[in-house]
């Protein structure tokens, strides 16, 4: 996994609540057996005016000019401002894959759906939860200011605004450590292989019917 340390990047506001994973990456793209290449289909149904199909060249598809992602001022954005319950719905990891493939490395919002939140950390994408008043303010400033950039510092757990003021955020110490170092979870877990084996043997003895 790509480590996440600091990110100094353009922010883009996506001002709607309950953005579900079907909206982030529609189902027809889930037929891929690969992990990469989902970026051009991120938010496909909002972003394009025609119906997207897997394997298509997206460069000449008609774009929806009203969708925020298509505005010139947000090209190259790597930080996504979101509202309540972003990433709700399906467990498809294709959602963080698509966000990451497009270029988003950090998401800032009031709340994220559990499975999506988890999936982000496995892919070097940092979801940051902030109180509603602070998220509101970031939305206001971002919409009012061309070229609005934020600096995310994971080690310091801060989001710094263009005026230099920093907002602190919380993150699980274990997840933070993994993300900072780009550690592979499986490798980490396998350090406990002995313990897993011992647990399994005990469970098998007590509840053999789970192992039939």
């Amino acid at each position: 996994m790509k480590p996440f340390t600091t990110l100094d990047a353009l922010a883009m506001p996506l001002d709607r609540a309950n953005v579900d994973t079907d909206a982030i990456i529609p189902k027809q793209f889930l037929k891929s057996i690969k992990r990469s290449g989902f970026g051009p289909n991120l938010f496909d149904e909002w972003r394009y005016l025609d119906r997207g199909e897997p394997g298509q060249d997206c460069s000449d598809r008609p774009k929806n000019p009203d969708f925020v992602l298509n505005r010139a001022r947000y090209q190259g954005a790597q930080i996504l401002l979101t509202r309540d319950n972003f990433g709700c719905g399906s467990s498809r990891e294709h959602a963080p894959w698509a966000l990451e493939d497009y270029g988003f490395r950090a998401l800032i919002g009031t709340s994220f759906a559990d499975i999506f939140f988890n999936n982000c950390f496995k892919n070097g994408v940092l979801p940051i939860v902030l109180p509603a008043a602070q998220v509101d303010e970031l939305f206001r400033q971002c919409e009012a200011t061309d070229g609005y950039r934020l600096v995310v510092d994971l080690a310091a757990q801060t989001v710094t605004r263009p005026d230099g003021t920093a907002i602190k955020f919380d993150v699980d110490p274990f997840r933070k450590e993994c993300l900072l170092n780009g550690w592979d979870d499986i490798g980490l877990t396998l350090r406990h292989a002995e313990k897993i084996r011992a647990f399994e043997e005990k469970r098998r003895a007590e509840h053999p019917y789970y192992f039939a």
Partner: protein, 469 residues
């Protein structure tokens, strides 16, 4: 010992290791696998030169991409076919306790085949790369959906990295009225707490109305826990649970069964156990539900009207409702009963089990699909459900009513196969998500119970099923 919730019992019996911040490694008993979220995990495993930790924990099926008619033609979409064939090849190479491939007589939706084959057993941890894994919590399993990286992690280590959830008790007491089902309870709960109301929680469903539900009803309820934001839904074990599992193909037999059943009966919350949050509902006050918007929390009773954004003060909420009404093509204050229905879908991991089909058939019997309704799809959850329904003559009831009787699979719940809505079409659907484009780009989904779906098929609009029977 301190009184424990069912969730705490399941959690503590699976912790292998705990980090200082509470992140734990929990042991996984059952790993359900389907074709959509597994190929990258199998590939990752192979690239890293790793082997699955315990192949006998894996039960697999192909369900999302499979067609529901003309099986003799195979899977015509080459991209779908490749995904299903990739699963075939991966299971051939790696192995599994059981595999129900496309066209197998026991193939079906992963959350239907687990319980009906007895591979879902009380006290297990169950995972699947699918958010509706919460379904299995109906059997007092700690069951939740995981992403593909976690699928690979479970294959490689038999464990999942997890933090303990908070606990919520949804207590539903009293008796459900005629024409009101588990699906209506689920939608009423989501309408009450919202689609993020359960985020961070495991929801246990309790109370006399839950105890009175069949296993099918409990599965419907736990299935929808994820739509309330909760990764896991739970129902404690009772006689109904035990009776359902007896003689299922993979359930223990003889002396082992007795020992298992004794343990399973302890899998319920202790008297006086403390929950972080408690929600109470009166079952007798719940009416048939219909969603009108693009999130399951946008729900009303069949007697209600769609909301008027002008009456909503919170600007984010108001814009959400305005956007939903525009997408759904509905004017503010439209009575639910005046929404016309173009297609009907009876199926999905929420409502495709035998009891669901019986409820729909009871409404369809002796009636005809309205001529304005283009198509009514009835998609059984599995080959076993299909054969059971046919042995009861339900297929004939549906076909005589002008409904289409299909082969099992996920079908138009998410429209990864050929079954889908056309832009602008309204669908009465027994599935779980009414998100934009979920059943086909531009399609408009209204979530309802199987009985309400059948009633909508007959009337061509939403009607209170109690008026029909």
């Amino acid at each position: 010992m301190e009184a424990q919730t069912l969730y705490e019992k399941l959690w503590s019996s699976h912790v292998v290791h705990e980090e200082a911040d509470g992140t734990a490694l929990i042991y996984i008993d059952r790993h359900l696998v389907h074709e959509v979220t597994s190929p990258q995990a199998f590939e990752g495993l192979k690239l890293a030169g790793r082997k699955p930790w315990r192949v006998s924990s894996i039960v697999a099926t192909a369900d999302h991409n499979t067609p529901t008619d003309h099986w003799e033609r195979g899977i015509e979409d080459p991209v779908s076919r490749q995904q299903v064939e990739t699963l075939d090849a991966n299971i051939r190479e790696v192995g599994a306790l059981a595999y129900f491939p496309f066209k197998d007589s026991r193939q079906g939706i992963v959350h239907v085949i687990g319980p009906e084959n007895g591979v879902t057993l009380p006290g297990m941890t169950v995972v699947c790369g699918d958010s509706h894994t919460s379904t299995h919590g109906a059997f007092a399993c700690l069951a939740h959906g995981i992403g593909t990286s976690e699928v690979e992690h479970v294959m490689a280590t038999q464990c999942l990295l997890q933090k303990k959830s908070k606990t919520m008790l949804v207590k539903v007491d009293g008796k459900l009225g005629r024409g009101v089902y588990a699906k209506d309870i689920a939608l009423a709960v989501i309408g009450r707490i919202g689609t993020a109301g359960g985020t961070g929680y495991a929801i246990e469903f309790g109370g006399s109305a839950i105890r009175a539900l069949t296993m099918e009803g409990r599965m419907t309820l736990c299935n929808m826990a994820i739509e309330a934001g909760a990764r896991a839904g739970l129902v404690g074990v009772d006689d109904i649970t035990i009776d359902y599992l007896r003689d299922k193909p993979f359930a223990p037999k003889g002396e082992v069964w007795n020992k298992a059943a004794d343990y399973w009966r302890t899998l319920k919350s202790d008297e006086g156990a403390r929950f972080d949050r408690i929600i109470e509902l009166d079952a007798s006050a719940i009416l048939p539900q219909v969603t009108w918007g693009t999130s399951p929390e946008m729900v009303e009773t069949v007697a209600g009207r769609v909301p008027d954004p002008a009456e909503i003060s919170d600007p984010v909420k108001r814009e959400g409702v305005e956007r939903a009404l525009k997408y759904m093509g509905l004017a503010p204050n439209t009575p639910i009963s005046e929404i016309p229905v173009d297609q009907v879908f009876i199926g999905s991991c929420t409502n495709s089990r035998i009891e669901d089909l019986r409820e729909a058939a009871a409404v369809a019997k002796g009636r005809k699909k309205a001529s304005s309704v283009k198509r009514v799809l009835v998609v059984p959850g599995s080959g076993l459900v299909k054969r059971q329904a046919e042995s009861e003559g339900l297929d004939k009831v549906f076909m005589e009513a002008g409904f289409e009787w299909r082969e099992p699979g996920c079908s138009m719940c998410l429209a990864m196969n050929a079954d889908r809505l056309e832009p602008g079409e309204h669908c009465a659907s027994t599935s779980n998500r009414n998100f934009e484009g979920r059943q086909g780009a531009g399609g408009r989904t209204h979530l309802v119970s199987p009985a309400m779906a059948a009633a909508a098929a007959v009337a061509g609009r939403f009607v209170d099923v109690r008026e029909l029977s």
